[in-house]
Every structure is written in C-alpha cells, then in structure tokens.
Symmetry: C2
C-alpha cells in the first residue's frame, strides 16, 4: 500500500474531476457556468484566511490539524472535501453531510425555497407542517409532537426544559464522557466538557455523589463499556451497568426524597468512544428512572436518521442474537444530519410531555429561525434522499462491509483492540496491549495525522483516552471508499512502525 502513497493526492484530484464531470454532465449550461464562476471566486490564499482567523477568532474555537497543517476546504462532493488546490480528502468523520456533501437534491431544495420565502413559524407554511408530520411518523408511538430548533444544543436544552417542566425535578443522570452541546445548561450535563473546563464549581464526591459534579442534581454513571469497563460479558453487562443508574435513582428518591428528572443518553455514545447500550441496559435503566418519576431523553444528534443501519434511530438498536423489546424514549433530540449542513434540529416528544410543558410552563415557545421554510426544505430533501437512495440499507451494507474489513485487519494488526458499532457508526479502539488494554493514545494521533497528510483521509478521535477512531462518514460512503480507507489505515500503521517510537512525538489534535 505504501508504494501507492505518493500517487494519492494525484488520484484524489482525478477522483474529484470525475465526480465533478459526472455532475456537470447532468447540468444545464447556465448552471455549469455559475459553478465555475463561484469556484474561481475563492481567491483568497490559505495564509490570508489563516491570518484573519488568528486576528478575529478566539483560540477556543479550534481548527482541525492545527499542528500538522490546517486545511482550507472550499468544495464538498459526496464523501469528499476538496481544498483550494483541488486535492480531495476522503471524509470518514462528517455525520452532518448525511446525504453527501453538496447533495444536488438538498442544494436545489434550498435554492428554490430561499428565493421564495424565509420567515418564522408564527405563520403557517406547508414545508414546516409537512416536515413535522414526516418526522413524527418516523417514531414509534407515543412519540408524536415536534419542536423545531436550530442546533443539537438547542434541542438538548429544550429537552431538559421539557423534562424539568414535566417532572418538576432538575435531577439528571448522565453518562461519563458524554457531550450534549454548548449551551450552559447542556454543558452542565456533559462530563466530556465540564470535567475538562474550569467553568464549573465542581463539587467533590460528597453529598452522596460518587463523582465530582457541577451540583448535586447531576449524577454521572459510567459508560456501559463492554470492552474496557468492569462488565464485559454482553449477556450480563446491560443488567450490571443498569445497576449504576438504579443507584442514582435510589439516591435521589430514597436519600433526598426527590424525583429523578431525566436520564439523558446518546443513542450511540460518540465522545465516550463509540459505545452502544448493551442488551438489557436501556430496559432496566429506564424502568428505574420511570419508577423514580423521571423521563428518558435519547440524544440522537450524532446517531439518528438511519446511520445505525438496522434501525432508523440508535435507541432502537438490537444486538444481533440479543434481541429485546425496544424501549421508547419520552423525548428524542436530533440535529446534525437533519439539514445536511443547514442549521436544523428538533425535539420529538409525547403528547403527555408536551401538555405538561404547556400546563406547567404556560409560556409561549418561540424560536426565530427554528423550522423556517428554507431549513425545512433542506430537511424534507434529506428525508427524501434517505428514502430514494436507500441510505439506511447502505449503512447496513457498506457500514457492515467496513466493519468486517477492520475486523479482518484486527486478525493481524495487534494495535486494533476492538472494532464495534452499527451501520455507519463504527469505533476502532487502538491499544498497546490486548491484555492490559493500555490505550494507544499517541499512536492514534500519529496514525490520523499520517492518514490526513499522506493518504488524504479525514478522521476523528474519541474516547476518554483519545484512542478510538470514530467513523461516522457521509452515508454515501462507497465500498471503494471503505477499501481505500482500510488499506490506508494499514499503510499508516506500517508508516508508524517505520517511524520508530511515536509516543514522545508531538501530539496532533484532530
């Protein structure tokens, strides 16, 4: 594989040319002209852009590959992002461009609607009403009522608000390593952030809490990790991990004499490192939460819209051979892929929760941009595309194929400790030792850096030890993309071995 590598940028360019050619052949002359004009209009150099960014942006807004060389991306096509020199990068990480970057159906829907009208939901409009119906119909009963918002953060913020208005309790059970967004209320339930930052007065593990926490109302349970955690037998781990949720419920109910407010869980746990709820975990945990007066919020911002392949939402996921009754959440949040890049997100809940909110909060909920006809048009086009291009089935087939290929690689690459996930939501966990499970943190960073530099592949790293390759590509990711990715990964591991000890090298954040 490594003998091929010098050709890769060149092959990338050819690939892009082919993609563009294919697209342009089906276009009318005036559309071709427009695209060419715009492409040429990107006349700033990367250095000039970088200079502005340094001057006017906070360092807290981070850039990918800041150490090894940030990318200026000016075009997106399918599973590829293209820089200012026409070099195409295979995108294995962007779950926002669900239907593929610049999908023609979404592009046309936005172009048509923006020329007509873009206003708020105080007026009736067919787009938002139809989108509400279609989204609602994608859920099992009794999930029915839809709120449109602008981002996954706004969705999780509103979900917590609904839960609190409906239960009267702020007590929230959250999972270690999870991230749910950037508003202050949502940060407070995101251990991934509040434990890193100095923003929260973290209270020590007293007051009955076992972990430090931004307040007694936040209880952190361990991620139900069957690779690295204390319970590793898939047949019993779900029941065992559910006990940590039961313990939290017991604390609030018995020791504090309070209700639980919400159990907030990602359908597929992304930042914790591509962790899926083991069989029995949801059933037992949610029963305890409901018995304690709380509601179950499934955060599908990263994992929804068919990404899991065998199910449309991750909360419906069944481990093969361990099928069980699906636990239906009280509230579901979604965001990233919903508008294929256009800011669109939503909360779906039951009529009972919505009515409790109407009664207890009795104030209007207004979101200026949420559900506007342009973003709603993008949402409708995304749902159409998922159906028309059978993207959910593609997640089963190509995602399954990709996972199998990594599993095959695991047979002879010692560094691959675990391969897990469902559909196009895949984690590849890298370790130094398959017995001790010592995390290969620096190695993961090095490999991802080589993947970007040499093989022109964009990846992301997750997990509390930053040693999990988190694979969430656009759903149009092809078998050829999968082949190229796995071969390049193997090549990058070879390159790393040739480079010597990478543990002392500077870490490259990706």
């Amino acid at each position: 594989m490594s003998t091929l590598s010098p050709l890769v940028p060149f092959l990338g360019s050819i690939l892009v040319s082919v993609i563009l050619l294919k697209q342009e052949q089906s276009e009318k002359p005036e559309q071709q002209k427009k695209r060419t004009m715009t492409r040429n209009a990107v006349s700033m150099t990367k250095e000039a852009v970088m200079k502005l960014r340094r001057k006017y942006f906070s360092k807290s807004v981070s850039i990918s590959y800041a150490n090894s060389g940030p990318l200026m991306i000016v075009q997106g096509r399918g599973s590829h992002l293209i820089d200012e020199n026409g070099v195409a990068y295979l995108d294995t990480r962007n779950n926002v461009a669900h239907c593929g970057h610049s999908h023609p159906r979404v592009v046309k829907a936005v172009q048509d609607q923006v020329a007509q009208l873009n206003t708020n939901t105080r007026y009736l409009h067919p787009n938002v009403a139809t989108l509400g119906q279609r989204l609602s119909n994608l859920f099992p009963d009794p999930l029915e009522i839809v709120f449109f918002v602008n981002s996954g953060s706004e969705a999780n913020d509103l979900a917590l608000r609904l839960a609190r208005a409906c239960t009267g309790s702020k007590n929230t059970i959250v999972v270690d390593g999870s991230y749910h967004g950037h508003t202050m209320t949502v940060l407070e339930v995101s251990p991934y952030k509040y434990e890193q930052g100095g923003e929260f007065d973290l209270q020590p593990p007293k007051m009955g809490l076992k972990f430090q926490s931004p307040g007694r109302h936040i209880w952190k349970v361990p991620a139900p990790d069957i690779y690295r955690g204390p319970h590793r037998d898939i047949r019993t781990a779900g029941r065992e991990y559910a006990k940590t949720v039961e313990e939290a419920c017991h604390f609030y109910q018995k020791e504090c004499g309070e209700k639980v407010g919400a159990f907030l869980l990602e359908g597929g746990m992304s930042t914790p490192g591509a962790i899926l709820s083991p069989p029995g975990y949801l059933a037992h945990s949610v029963k305890a939460v409901r018995d304690a007066g709380g509601v179950f919020i499934a955060d599908e911002v990263q994992s929804g819209f068919g990404r899991f392949g065998t199910s449309f939402w991750a909360f419906q996921h069944q481990h093969p051979g361990h099928e069980e009754e699906v636990v239906v959440p009280d509230i579901v949040t979604m965001g990233k892929p919903f508008g294929n890049g256009m800011p669109l997100a939503a909360v779906v809940t039951t009529r009972a929760v919505a009515e409790a909110f109407e009664t207890n909060a009795h104030i209007e909920y207004f979101n200026t941009f949420g559900g506007n006809p342009v973003c709603a048009a993008a949402g409708l086009a995304v749902l159409d595309t998922i159906e028309a291009e059978k993207l959910q089935q593609k997640a089963v087939q190509v995602g399954g194929y990709l996972q199998d290929k990594f599993m095959a690689l695991q047979q002879h690459l010692e560094i691959i400790g675990d391969v897990r996930g469902s559909g196009f939501f895949i984690g590849v966990e890298l370790v130094r030792d398959r017995t001790t499970l010592e995390a290969a943190t620096e190695e993961t960073s090095y490999i991802c850096s080589v993947l970007k530099e040499k093989y022109k592949i964009l990846t992301s790293i997750d997990g509390i030890f930053e040693n999990v390759l988190m694979i969430k590509p656009p759903m149009v990711f092809s078998k050829a993309d999968a082949d190229y990715f796995v071969e390049s990964f193997e090549g990058a591991v070879g390159d790393m071995k040739a480079a010597g000890d990478v543990r002392s090298m500077e870490k490259t954040p990706t």
Copy 2:
C-alpha cells in the same frame, strides 16, 4: 381613508404584481421559469396545513392571529409577505428580513454557496474569515473577537458564559420586561418570560432582593422608561435610573461580598416597549457595574445593523441635543437580521474577555453550524446590501419620516400617548388617558386586528401592558409604505370608534 379600504386587498395584489414584474424583468429566462414552478408547487390548502400543525405541534408554539385567522405565507418580497391567494401584507414587524424579504443579493449568495460547500469551522474558509473581519470592523475598539453561532439565544447564552468565566460571578443585572432568548440560562435572565411561566422557582423578595427572582444571582432593575416610569425628565432620568443599577451593585458587593458578573441590556429595549436608554443611563450604570467587577453585555439582537439609523448599533445611540460619550460594551450579541432569515448570529467581545475565557474555561468552543459558509455567505450579502442600498441612511430618512407622521397624528388622536424610538425602531404607545396613562391594551389589540384584516398590515405589540405598537420593519420600508401604514392606522382607530366599546371584546393575540 376608510372609503379606500375595500380596495386594499386588490391594491395589495397589484402592488405585489408590480414588485414581481420588476424583479422578473431583470432576470434571465431560466430563473423566471424556476420561480414560476416553485410558486405553483405550494399546493396544500391552508386548512390542510393547519390540521398538520394542530396534530404535530405543541400549543406552546404560537401562531400569529390565532383568533382572527392565522395566515399562510408562501412568498416574501421586499416589505411584503404574500399569502397563498396572492394577497400581500405590509410587514411592519419583521426585523429579521432586514434587507427585505427574499432580497436578490442574499438569495444569490445562498444559492451559489450551498452548491459549493456547507461544513463547519474546523476547516478554514474565506467566507467565515472575511465575515469575522468585516463584523469586527463594525465595532469600536477594543471590541474585536468574534464567535459565530446560530441564534440570538445561543449568542446570549455564550455571552453569559463568557461573562461568568471572565468575572467568576453569576450575578446578573437584568431589565424588567426584557427577553433575551429561549435557552434555559437565558430564560432565567428574561423577566418577560420567567415572570409569566411556572418553570422557575421564583424566590420571594427576601434575601435582599426587591423583586421575586429565579435566584439571588438575578437582580431585576426597572426599565428606564421616561414616559411611564417615575423619572420622566430626559435631562435627569438617566442618572436617576442608573441608581437602581448602582443599588444592585451595592447589594452584591457590600452585602454579599461578591462581584457583579454582568449587566445585560438590550441596545433598544424591545419587549419592554421600545424603550431607549436615556442620556447618562449607560455611563453611570456601566461605571457602577465595572467598579463592582462586572461586564456590560449589549444585546443587539433586535436593534443592530443600522436599524437605529443615526448609529449602526443601538448602544451608540445619542439623543439629539443630549450627546455624550459612547459607552463601549465588553460583549455584544447579535442575531435576527444578520442572515436576513438564514440562521446566523454572533458574539463580539474584547481580546481581554476572550483570553479570560480561554484561560478560565480552557475548553474548546465548537458550534457545528455556527459560521458555516452558507450562512456566512448570507451574512456577507447582508453587510454588502446595507452598504450598497444605504439602508442605515434609509432608517434615518424613512424611519424619521414615519416617526414624524405618527407624531403629527398624535396631535389629533388622543389615543396616541407617546411616539418614540430611533430609525426603524419605533414605539407608539396607546393610552386611554394622557394624564393617568391608563394603558389601552384591548384597543391596541383591536386596532392591530383591524390593520391585519382590513388593511393587510402586519404589526406587533410589546410593552408590559401590551399597549405599544412596536415598529421594526424590513429596512427597505418605503415612504409610500409609511404613508399607507399611518393612514391605515388612522382608519383603524376610526373603525374602532365606530365599533363601540372594544374593551369587552375577545382579545386577539398578535
């Protein structure tokens, strides 16, 4: 005027036809075809849309004119919104469609960019870098660093986060009747919402607080209202009202031994009823806040981008004859008009605040959609349009003309108690008695209902007594629009008088 009224819907249609004709003449044939196709594609009836809305939406998401007949709006052109029958409504309330509904420059910018790329700010892109520079350059020093987000709510949420990370204090001084957005943290500093709702455990006026509040860390000061409040002399009111802010600072500093975190104030106070800071108010209030360790956050979500006419931002507003030194905020938030309907908002702050955030929070700030190249393209087009069409000057001229016309009307219409504002940010306060200032709440509702039904004019009502006509039209509002609005208003007052006592009639929420 009322003799003209039966013709109005018909005139509205003619007007729209003229607007469309004008636009279509300047378009190429293929664009004309596209628009016609889309226009015909809106084939659902209003009843069908209403039915979906009732089934899938929460009642807490409200509809304008719910009692008198909701509108289905399918097209926007300039200062008009157009329903499914082609009836055009003059829009006097929508400060989101800043450059006019469906402004061709914004439409084209979005259409071009969405076909190229829509991704996040982890990669460099000329649009977001250039927008950061241009936005930053619209502020006086030391305001410099820009954060892009999706909505005014997200902007205010982040502003509070910056303020808290930088001062180490959550104590926040807010203005009675104010609204800053819908995330939970932002609702907590919005008396307009938290006093209506049952969501917050409002604490009684003890613990040193003079008002009930969601917590000791929220201190509400009265709006500096020189029409209805205790201080009505423009020469001294600013100083007097600033004492209420000084009192809050004294409480936190002297009685609690704590810093003030932030003083959060709308540049133009919209929901409190079109209230402007009187001369001296900002200078004295902000001095007290800074002396107590706090920062000043100016919320320009409703009032920014030239709407005030004589100044680009409302915090820079000077009352004629009462000029003073401008107080530069530590943090400014903006949203609604920034993308002319596309979800785009921002926080601008000083390097000192940004660096304190980087140091104290030391976690990455990532916003998936914030600053994406499509919404950034809309933002750039908005800034271009403001400049090219001299919209700020237009706010001075046409806004001033409109305000003068209402003032002239005030001479013989007793119900007009006060006309105030700046540029295209105008309040017309309606009273039953100019001495007692008894609020004409039901009358305001009735008049706005007639304006919509008979004259096809969309209005909004603000103020704690819901008796202030809040005028914030698209900035392309013309002198002819102003004439038609003021004549219709006079007509509607006549219609109301003819109808008898409207106080007992059902109130029509607008």
